[in-house]
């Protein structure tokens, strides 16, 4: 599915990256531990997280993640937004909780890591 679909499913607001909503997302991970995200080798994925510091964007940049969605309506500070803009990583924020966000996306057909590995 594309990022635009995810935005609808999660009732999310786009913080930055309106022009990147056509990006294809094949897999997602929900995680608040950046080292776990870094060990999750799935380029082109969506990260759902409750953390909003700039290192979340850095982590996404290093691991080639395609987009980040903050949960529970969290909005990052300007420095995080600026970094995301510079690195072309779209940021979204959803009012839903982590559990609900993951549940909705999975129900709509977005894969997790193990399912994705079986496919490829």
């Amino acid at each position: 599915m594309i990022l635009k679909d995810i935005q609808k499913i999660l009732e999310a607001e786009v913080i930055v990256g309106d022009d990147l909503l056509g990006e294809d997302i094949t897999i997602a991970c929900g995680c608040d531990l950046m080292s776990d995200v870094l060990s999750f080798f799935a380029p082109g994925s969506l990260l759902l997280t409750g953390l909003i510091n700039p290192q979340v964007v850095r982590t996404a940049e290093m691991a080639d993640l395609r987009a980040i969605c903050f949960i529970r309506g969290k909005k990052p500070a300007q420095e995080t937004i600026d970094l995301a803009e510079a690195k072309n990583i779209p940021l979204l924020t959803t009012p839903l909780s982590m559990f609900e966000s993951c549940g909705r996306l999975h129900r709509e057909g977005l894969s997790g890591y193990s399912e994705y590995m079986k496919k490829v």
Binding site: S35, L38, F41, L51, P54, A63, K87
Partner: protein
Amino acid sequence: MTPDNKISRIQELVYEIRIGEVMQKDVITINPQTNMSELRGILREKRISGAPVMDGDKMVGIISIEDFIKWLADRENDCPISEKMSKDVKTLYADEPLTHAVNKFERFGFGRFAVIDRQSRRLLGIITKGNIVEGLLKKLEIDHYKEEEVYCRRVEHFFEDILADKVVLLFQYDVAGHDFKRAGEGASRLKASLKRLGLDPQIVRRVAIATYEAEMNLVIYTEGGQIRARVEPHEIFVKVADSGPGIPDVQKVLRPGYSTAPEWIRNLGFGAGMGLNNILKCASKMDLRSEVGKGTQLYIRVDTKDGATSETN
């Protein structure tokens, strides 16, 4: 390209480009016996503002919309255009540089010039100010594409293009301790540089992740240090070094989950004792050496032929 050198590029181009390159070759010509009353229809239909007047293959003049307006204003009787055309035709040679055309347009104030061959003096085409602008823009666009192509080629074939028995590139990034906001800049810049060298994205990602984790360790636990990356065609070797405080028990920190990170670092999503483990996973080979009071050196080797082997969980 900055605006300044773009202007000088245009100045160069008006000397480089020949009139023959930008002129209109499919010229609409008019017979001298055509009546003035027919001229308006021809100009309108062909969407032109003037045309050379040809008697057989000999150019005898140029007729333009200005001549037509003058004829109308003077309320004269209908006559062949040969009576109203400008007979003193100013011409340009196809092999002259564009700057000659620019000068003539300025000097005579005409809307168009006939372009002829220097030897045969045969009509080859006509040139208007519009043709000049169009020609310059086209050339600038071609220049731009060529520049981009050359740039892409240059970096993608970087190693192949350098003639030496051994090629080694060294990058160094200085990391400040405890500056969490800027943490990761070194790894980010290294990643961008490796990408530009045209290395395999998977290899670049592995080096970037390993370097980033190591950089986070410098920021969290030390007063700062250096990241040095040595890039060779067969491997990327990253050395991350600091000057203290050093690790008392190296074996202990290699154990997954072992961490001495303060609470605030854990709250930011790091310090869970997984960093070195991640580095180990990304690296083809890793080595950690430390001495309390002196400092720590972490060596990360990523074999560029190693592909995805280490990248599977």
